[in-house]
């Protein structure tokens, strides 16, 4: 247990951020911080424990936003994105 770690608590509006985005961001940060997520009524309480907690929390929030935007974009673009990926993979595999 690293005793230099400091825990900071943040609150994320569940109307803006989905649980999926918060969990994905926590996973991305799993090698840099200890993260606990507690879902509440309309809010996620997230505890970020890291050596440079202030900086890590800022980066974590950016990552939550990044993941949420990616999830939102997928809802709009998944069809065209899927066509491109399928074409690229099928061609590379020698399938028409």
């Amino acid at each position: 247990m690293n005793t230099n770690k400091v825990a900071k608590e943040i609150f994320l509006d569940a109307g803006i951020y989905s649980g999926e985005a918060v969990k994905l961001a926590a996973f991305v940060f799993s090698d840099r911080a200890d993260i606990r997520i507690a879902p509440g009524k309309g809010v996620f309480t997230v505890s970020v424990s890291a050596e440079d907690a202030e900086h890590t929390v800022g980066e974590f929030l950016n990552e939550v936003l990044n993941q949420q935007c990616r999830i939102d974009l997928a809802k709009k673009n998944s069809k065209i994105a899927g066509i491109i990926v399928t074409k690229a993979l099928l061609s590379a595999a020698g399938e028409k």
């Binding site: 991305v28 940060f29 090698d31 840099r32 950016n62 990552e63 990044n66 935007c69 990616r70 939102d72 974009l73 997928a74 673009n77 998944s78 065209i80 994105a81 491109i84 990926v85 074409k87 690229a88 993979l89 061609s91 590379a92 595999a93 020698g94």
Partner: protein, 485 residues
């Protein structure tokens, strides 16, 4: 009534701008679309176009209609043909096959991303059986054009295997009917007249590294034998001379050189470019250093941020254009490849700026031991102890298994700009690409986070500079000449 409402709704949608991307640069707007067309618009014209209120008699109307920016004038056949031409790589599979002939190298370059081993590490030489199996697997790609690139370490340290592989690959090409290009990336420290003759006779194109004048080159590319500059220059001149004289029996390609920009290079753009010009090289590839592999450990000493590189790059581009205006032939390679897409709607084969990126579906990297990676950058991550980008082995896995591996799929998915939140709306999307390996190494995920991504910042800087230059008729004429072929 319902019909009337539908007509009204149709009229409304007819008047809006079709799919387009834009970016405000200075006082004007750069408008682009997926087929690769672009237009520069003043603020008032941009407002008219986006509101669908540009009058047919407007002098800009015909140009914008031809480029696919007016909804009810879309020429789908033309737009689709341009899109297909620009994205032709989606139809072929991997064309580039990198064979790491050895990890050994006599140089200890400050920024080496190739994970070079010491000269005694003979166990890192690729055995002939691995080389042949790698060639066999490469020829299983459906791509009608195969490029086999011999890399290292220093590939000439494994000369006998390299030689046999060249002959073997040429034979495979004759049998399969595929178009085969062979390329060698070498520091030339072990080049001899005999080796040179063999390579020329078998039409192997040659590429080396040249980081600038002697002092800078030797500072970056530290050689155990003293100066690495002398050998590099000697053999560039030799191959230049052979190219200039040609022979009827085989084609002799012009040698090329790669520049890697370290922190030590940032103050010397003129001297570096002059060195290339003096050497008779007509292309200079100004490549940024990537914090991957060995370079990552030394980043604090030799690295820089995107802003520093952008300043260096823009000063270099400006200087090159000034030289061009004086009649000197020299082009910047990265700009040329971007321009090929912007001006010619053509895929220049730049695997780093494709959507999806070239990992596995555009290139494969074969390590000395037969392990196959999505790309050379992925192999370097493997050498650092993380085999995330390893997708098979030539002895145990078929081409199909490699290309349908989970890692291949995730690289394709994560580098698809349509799935990247910032990229999907970026004006440079039709010409750009992201690198999952870079994202993973610098930001911890294959997707990365573009607003904080240095590579993204760097590409944006280059695109902004190129589009701004294309607004100037005199400079546009020079740049278009770079890609006129």
């Amino acid at each position: 009534m319902a019909q009337k409402q539908a007509t009204k709704k149709n009229k409304k949608s007819q008047s809006l701008l079709p799919q387009a991307l834009w970016q405000k640069i200075g006082a004007n707007y750069l408008l682009t679309n997926d087929s690769g067309h672009y237009a520069w618009l003043k603020e008032k014209d941009f407002a008219l176009v986006t509101a669908g209120k540009m009058a047919e008699k407007d002098p800009l109307f015909a140009e914008l209609a031809a480029k696919g920016f007016i909804r009810n004038r879309l020429d789908f056949n033309d737009l689709a043909a341009k899109w297909k031409k620009k994205n032709a790589y989606l139809y072929y599979g991997p064309g580039l096959h990198i064979l790491v002939m050895t990890l050994r190298c006599g140089n200890k370059c400050l920024y080496c991303q190739s994970a070079a081993a010491g000269l005694g590490a003979k166990h890192t030489d690729m055995p002939l059986a691995v080389a042949r199996k790698s060639v066999d697997l490469a020829f299983n790609s459906p791509n009608p054009g195969i490029t086999i690139e011999f890399q290292g370490g220093e590939p000439l340290l494994n000369w006998e295997v390299l030689k046999s592989t060249v002959v073997y690959a040429r034979k495979k090409a004759r049998i399969s009917g595929k178009d085969l290009k062979l390329a060698l990336v070498s520091n030339f420290s072990l080049m001899t007249a005999e080796k040179a003759e063999f390579l020329l006779k078998h039409e192997v194109s040659l590429c080396t590294s040249l980081d600038g004048p002697k002092a800078l080159h030797d500072e970056n590319r530290v050689s155990s034998a003293g100066s690495s500059y002398e050998d590099t220059v000697k053999w560039i001149k030799f191959f230049q001379a052979r190219h200039d004289t040609q022979v009827p029996e085989y084609r002799v390609f012009k040698p090329s050189a790669l520049l890697t920009v370290s922190r030590y290079s940032l103050s010397s753009h003129k001297e570096i470019i002059d060195e290339y010009v003096g050497m008779g090289l007509e292309d200079i590839f100004i490549r940024p250093l990537a914090p991957i592999g060995y370079a990552r450990r030394l980043w604090g000493k030799i690295g820089y941020d995107a802003k520093d590189f952008s300043i260096f790059y823009l000063k270099s581009l400006d200087y090159i254009l000034k030289l061009n205006q004086r009649g000197v032939v020299i082009r910047e390679k990265m700009a040329s490849m971007m321009l090929d897409k912007i001006v010619n709607f053509r895929d220049p084969g730049y695997l780093d700026a494709r959507c999806p990126c070239g990992a596995a579906i555009g290139q494969l990297a074969y390590n000395y031991n037969g392990d196959i990676y999505t790309c050379d950058e992925g192999r370097m991550v493997g050498w650092e102890g993380n085999d995330l980008f390893r997708i098979g082995n030539v002895f145990t896995d078929s081409y199909k298994k490699v290309i349908t591996s989970a890692t291949t799929k995730v690289c394709v998915v994560s580098s698809n700009l349509e799935a990247q939140p910032v990229c999907a709306r970026c004006a440079y999307k039709p010409y750009c690409g992201v690198c999952p390996v870079y994202n993973y190494e610098t930001q911890g995920t294959l997707w990365g986070n573009m607003p904080a991504n240095d590579r993204c910042g760097l590409f944006k800087g280059i695109f902004k500079a190129l589009f701004t230059l294309l607004k100037n008729p005199e400079k546009a004429a020079i740049l278009k000449k770079w890609v006129a072929k």
